[in-house]
Amino acid sequence: MKSYAYFLGCLTPLRYPGIEATTKISMKQLGVELLDMKGATCCPAPGVFGSFDLQYWLSVAARNLVIAQDMGVDIAVTCNGCYGTLQEASHLLEDEDRRKRVNDLLGKIGKSYAGKTKVKHVNEVISGDVGFENLKNKMVKPLKGLRVVAHYGCHYLKPRKVRGHGIFEQYHFIDDLAKLLGAEAIEYKDKGMCCGAGGGVRSGELDVALDFTLEKIKNIANVKADCIVNPCAFCHLQLDRGQIELRDRGLLKDTIPVVFVTQLLGLALGLPPKNLGLYDNLTQPTYLEKLGLGG
């Protein structure tokens, strides 16, 4: 069984634990073991701590990498922010001089990073370790009739020089996954656009962040999607809670349910919606009725 250190970050365990629960149970069902990273902290968030103090950002990221290094496994994440930081830190710390500078800091807490720990997004675990063939065989509930749009977020794909997944406008993993699971994957205007949350904009300028979200939601509403599938705890929060905030401000009438990529997967694996935390998303899972799973 393939094992990863599951890096939780902040928003997955403390705002959307449904993402944590569903990822653990669906990955277990697919033969991937996710281990606890004892004493992990915030990644730290790339757009905020990377904006406040780059050396602090990189050294705390390196400390998180060391936890997995000492467990002898690579890291898996369910947030583009965590991926943004840890994957970039892993990339930057392949450089020996930079690693030495960071290790001088880590030495103060009795730690050292060897520069070998890799960081994978759960998207990559599904595509690489599980594989579509295997997944096809384990699917028990095809998501027939479900109209899905994908939102990929920014830090999983950009900057491409660091991430290595190609041009962000051409990436289509979630669309492919949705199709494999029996759903219909629909294109929409400006699909690659940011949710608005990152870089401290949600905390610093909420109205600006929500205006991003409103534009996205309008574009998605135009293609009559049943749900928005995304791979990032922070985008998930912004699209889910953000729609409620927009509704409260009188700027949005109907919300579109937001689903995390492993929640969609869990449904197709036949896991009960309440175990997947689908009712814990603020946008209610109206699509369940379409799948005959309502009530």
């Binding site: 939780l8 902290t41 757009g47 103090d53 780059l54 050396q55 920014c154 870089g199 935390g277």
Partner: protein, 185 residues
């Protein structure tokens, strides 16, 4: 905002000074040769055309780059504009001169943060990190939700391991981050 003539004087008297400061600061973390692309901006505006923040605010990312090149230090560091970037990297992906625009913006923010120009809401996140090891606190509602989902009330992070928290506090002290946060209060 300085007049065009005052800006010209700064640019002539202190050419590239801020830009060099940004490159030096950023190179503690990013490859220096990547940051040196900051000299190459031709003000084509490709970045502004792709910027989702610029579509709805008054911010033009190419002006930020130009101000950095001209050395308009205080004008840039005091401004709200540098905090309107969601770090989506669209500009950086599309720049025909391969400027590391988003990383330059993050580095400019590092200097602004050090000068005490952080927003209160950003300081709140920084303090959460220093006190909890996380950007947001665990709430009672979330603890209950976690238990209902079959998880422990608290995740196995620094929230359960006080020695982990003291380690990240030491890193905050060693890098000078905790000092910057208390100075900005």
């Amino acid at each position: 905002m300085k007049s065009p003539i005052e800006r010209k004087v700064i640019a002539v008297e202190a050419p590239w000074l801020l830009l060099e400061e940004v490159i030096n600061r950023g190179s503690t973390t990013f490859p220096k040769e990547d940051l040196k692309t900051a000299y190459d901006c031709i003000q084509c505006g490709e970045c502004v055309g792709g910027c989702p923040s610029g579509r709805r605010t008054g911010w033009h990312v190419r002006s930020t780059i130009r101000k950095m090149q001209l050395g308009l230090r205080e004008e840039l560091l005091n401004s709200d504009e540098i905090w309107l970037c969601t770090t989506c990297y669209t500009c950086q992906e599309r720049c025909p001169r391969q400027l590391m625009i988003t990383d330059l913006v993050r580095t400019i923010r590092n200097i602004a943060f050090e000068q005490g120009h952080a927003k209160d809401s950003h300081l709140k996140i920084a303090k959460n990190m220093l006190e909890l090891g996380h950007t947001v606190p665990p709430t009672e509602e979330m603890k209950k939700m976690r238990e209902r989902l079959g998880l422990n009330a608290l995740p196995p992070t620094a929230l359960q391991f006080p020695e982990a928290l003291s380690e990240v506090k030491k890193l905050a002290e060693a890098t000078g981050f905790s000092n910057k946060v208390s100075k900005a209060k």
